[in-house]
């Protein structure tokens, strides 16, 4: 049995999914968080069900890649129940998707979510009346407290058993006639496609890009017929056919909305609007933007460095103690490598990573990121993109992989490519660890801050260059601005834990193994071979040749560069063997050079092989250029 959660972005689908499946989906307060679907198995009244969380979609017209994913899933997979999640506080808009979903003729239940939010706005929704109109059950829920979710699942099971598919929305007479005439014609076509004929007819009239490509090309006669039908609609209403159909649905949704909603009172001025008066202010907004990110990174550094030092000392003592335990030099080397790998994870990476992920989760869940898109849209236009690209770029500070995947919310392929490439230039949490652990630690926090500022400029200039190479006007910005949410402790905790766990179970073992391998390589003096191979790069950058190996390992995981560096140099006091200038050059190069393997895989999937190779060459070129530049500048320091 398969249940699928479908709803518009920010309606709380993923929160519901997490509640019932024990936290697997990533939630955030902006559109496009779930770019791929997440599935989980659970038992409802002793029945094993598969529950799927689809990316948020405003409608079943696929406008961007994330929405395409949702629609393709709905149309091609065997689905037993659609759980349509609707934000009760913006019910009229949500109902438009509900009406489209009814056209799919599947057993369905509506989760009327965020009813508390709606009541706050003075909106009371009559769920019984709504169920009566749609002819499918409606369950009131408050996802983040879990209220109504057990009933929702029970109802979904009931809907499945009784096969409740609701009623098809009826449009105005003249439109309905045109639709029915097309339905008759597409019946044969849909037999092979497993799509309800009426759904296909509506989407063809709405000039759905994908269906036009699939259907009309192979059925020229149908194509002519649909064109005629569209013309009829256009002549009858004086509007393009897509507007006629979508406006019909809009009017129907408004009509239902007015029937089921009681406005209890004029909404009180919301404190959250006052927050926007400051945070989206044309002047103060930018000051707060700067302050918020300044505090964000400063706090991470303060916390991280306070934890790093005592832990490192502890591991130093441990290292000396264990060394004397093993007489065999090879075993000693291996143990040493393992301890250094473990120490790297506990003492160097985690102290920065934990506060970083908590902070990022807070920023995401609060709903601040779309405001940043609002403030920075005009700057993004200057580099040939628009405000929506800000979100993938900001996510890049966390990890390049989700950043690359988040580019799916962008409409044009060119924007996706440029944003994905730029997002790999943003220092991710792993590279933040390097910046903080190396530059901030040895040269001072101001140098680290300077690197971030320089990075933003580099991203800007690279954007300009890419725009020059791919001249095409970016489609304008349209983005929903969700309400602020007070992030719940549980959600922040679980989300951060989920990301930290990813480091612990995937990256950390690689760190330890990498560290051991390097020890063995050093023991047999094999690292010299790699170092020699890398010597053209290290020579150009004026770095000690021993760092060559660390650069190669860094491609596996960026954190490795730092931990390997300490190991390759054979000391924790980097300043004994490297000058401040060399530390800076090394860090600059590591920030920009080849994305890590996981990112390359994500790029490959999202923008294709050719563009991925271009991105790798492009970023490496920038890294070399800036590395040499840093070397030159720092020789004056």
């Amino acid at each position: 049995m398969k249940f699928v959660l479908v709803g518009q972005p920010n309606c709380g689908k993923s929160t519901i999914f997490n509640y019932i499946s024990g936290y697997k989906a990533v939630t955030a307060n902006f559109p496009g968080t779930t770019v791929k679907y997440t599935a989980s198995k659970l038992y409802i009244n002793g029945n094993l069900c598969e529950c799927v969380d689809l990316p948020g979609t405003y409608s079943l017209i696929a406008a961007d890649a994330a929405e395409e994913e949702a629609r393709r899933y709905l149309l091609t997979q065997k689905i037993d129940v659609i759980i349509n999640v609707v934000d009760a506080s913006i019910l009229s808009r949500g109902l438009e998707l509900t009406l489209e979903l009814l056209e799919l003729c599947r057993p369905m239940v509506v989760a009327l979510n965020m009813v508390d939010e709606a009541e706050k706005k003075g909106i009371h929704v009559d769920d019984k009346k709504l169920a009566n109109i749609l002819k499918v059950p409606v369950v009131k829920t408050i996802a983040y407290t879990g209220q109504g979710l057990t009933e929702l699942l029970r109802t979904a099971l009931m809907v499945y058993k009784k096969k409740i598919i609701g009623v098809l929305p009826v449009l105005s007479k003249d439109v309905e006639d045109v639709v029915m005439s097309v339905v008759e014609r597409v019946k044969d076509v849909t037999k092979g496609l497993n799509i309800p004929p009426r759904f296909l007819a509506l989407k063809l009239l709405e000039r759905d890009h994908e269906f036009e490509n699939i259907v009309l090309k192979s059925y020229p006669e149908l194509s002519l017929f649909v064109k005629e039908a569209q013309k009829k609609l256009e002549e009858g209403h004086g509007r393009p056919p897509d507007v006629v159909v979508s406006s019909e649905r809009h009017a129907l949704a408004m009509h239902i909305y007015e029937k089921v909603v009681k406005i209890l009172r004029i909404p009180k001025p919301d404190i959250r609007d006052r927050i926007d008066d400051v945070l989206m202010h044309r002047f103060a907004g930018y000051i707060f933007l700067f302050l918020i990110f300044y505090i964000f990174f400063n706090l991470i550094f303060k916390i991280g460095s306070h934890v790093e030092e005592p832990l490192m000392n502890l591991f130093d003592i441990l290292l000396i103690k264990t060394k004397s335990l093993f007489p065999s030099p090879l075993v000693k080397t291996i143990v040493e490598g393992a301890i250094q790998g473990i120490a790297g994870g506990v003492a160097i990476v985690l102290p920065y990573l934990v506060p970083f992920f908590i902070g990022l989760a807070l920023l995401e869940d609060s709903g601040y990121l779309p405001r940043v898109a609002f403030l920075l849209d005009s700057f993004m236009h200057r580099i040939g993109l628009h405000g929506k690209s800000v979100i993938p770029l900001l996510l890049g500070y966390g990890c390049s992989v989700p950043a690359v995947m988040a580019t799916r919310v962008l409409e044009s392929e060119r924007d996706r490519f440029i944003t994905a490439t730029l997002s790999t230039l943003i220092p991710c949490s792993a590279r933040t660890v390097i910046i903080l652990g190396l530059v901030s630690y040895y040269l001072g926090p101001n140098y680290a801050l300077g690197l971030y500022v320089v990075n933003i400029f580099v991203v800007g200039i690279s954007g300009k260059v890419l725009t020059y190479l791919y001249p095409e006007i970016t489609p304008g910005l349209i983005l929903e601005v969700p309400k602020y949410h007070l992030p719940s402790f549980r959600s922040i905790f679980v989300k951060s834990w989920y990301r930290i766990k990813e480091f612990i179970i995937i990256a950390w073992p690689i760190l330890i193994i990498g560290s051991i391998i390097l020890s063995i390589l050093q023991f047999f003096h094999l690292d010299n071979v790699i170092n020699t191979l890398c010597s053209p790069v290290t020579f150009l950058l004026g770095l000690p040749t021993v760092v060559g190996t660390t650069l190669i390992f860094g491609i596996l995981r960026k954190e490795l560069s730092l931990i390997m560096l300490l190991q390759a140099l054979g000391t924790k006091e980097v300043l004994y063997v490297m000058t401040k200038g060399q530390i800076l050059t090394f860090t600059v190069f590591v920030i920009f050079y080849i994305p890590c393997l996981a990112t390359i895989a994500a790029l490959w999937r999202e923008i294709g092989a050719r563009k991925t190779i271009f991105a790798i060459l492009f970023t490496t070129f920038i890294a070399l250029l800036l590395g040499i530049l840093t070397r030159g500048i720092s020789s004056f320091l």
């Binding site: 044309r282 005009s378 349209i478």
Partner: protein, 77 residues
């Protein structure tokens, strides 16, 4: 008198007459509940020719200047 949305001062309520952009533009707006005939409120605009924030059918949407210049509206009192 009809004007384009980017010309409307913050705080004003306007009715959408038509959307001049292409089908993608119309679909994107419709997805967020912005239809011809609806009344929307302009809340604020970002500096440096940044986007415009509007309220439509209970939700808030930001629209870039370029797109806003293709939306024809008239003021309602």
């Amino acid at each position: 008198m009809p004007v384009t949305l980017n010309m409307v001062a913050p705080g004003k309520k306007v009715r959408i007459i038509m959307v001049e952009g292409g089908i993608r533009c119309r679909q994107c707006l419709a997805e967020l509940g912005v239809y011809p005939g609806d009344t929307i409120k302009v809340i604020r605009s970002a500096p440096f020719s940044g986007p415009i924030l509007i309220e439509a059918n209970g939700g808030k949407v930001m629209i870039g200047r370029g797109m806003a210049s293709k939306i024809i509206v008239e003021e309602v009192s």
